[in-house]
Symmetry: C2
DNA sequence: TGCCTTGTTCGATTATTGTCGAACATTATG
DNA sequence: CATAATGTTCGACAATAATCGAACAAGGCA
């Protein structure tokens, strides 16, 4: 599989990022990644079907929140911390620290 | 026009706040209020109809982002800065500073 | 090769949200 | 009281987004 397309930080859109974060399932993903650093999809799939999760990962990826690195058969996801913070300083920290 | 109900900061929900902010029209409202402090609805209505704006104000109010004070026939809106910052430190600042 | 694992894509359905006109309520003000 | 100004509410419709099973693709391994 070809690698994913990840948007350039200069093109991150605030509304897209906020929409991506404004969903419970995706917020769970983001917070989990905030704790563990990197995780493949299977690790993050809870009770929801894979196809739903795949969709959520795509939304997060397309908005710039996370990056997906392919290693063998696994897709490893991690937050794009530096890039997000460059474009929207303090935003991700506020999300990760929120109750 | 009984006064509006404004949620208690302890009950603010992150996903609700993010959903409220994740809309272009509402983001415009929030940023405008960030600059001018307080404004009534008419001041903030651009090209959109009043009924649409009224809806957006309600979403922002219900999530805790802004408060509406009634003065005569006008409804004056302002950000709930301190309360938001108490519950989600840095979040509003990140939004207002974002490009 | 055959099979298992990991995850995507497709398509259909459902659910949630946004949009906006029309009618209404309230507060001035002439 | 009649009228204007400011917003809300209602209802219908449109647009957007989430859900999820089934079929598919690719890599790793026996």
């Amino acid at each position: 599989m070809p690698a994913y397309d990840h948007p350039d930080p200069a093109t991150f859109e605030l509304t897209s990022v906020l929409r991506a974060l404004a969903d419970p399932a995706r917020l769970d993903i983001v917070r989990h990644l905030g704790r563990v650093g990197e995780a493949n999809c299977a690790t993050l799939v809870g009770t929801r079907p894979k196809s739903s999760m795949s969709h959520h990962f795509q939304v997060l990826r397309d908005s710039g929140v996370l990056r997906t690195r392919i290693e063998g058969v696994q897709h490893r996801n991690s937050l794009r911390r530096e890039e997000l913070d460059m474009r929207f300083p303090g935003l991700l920290a506020a999300i990760l620290n929120a109750p």
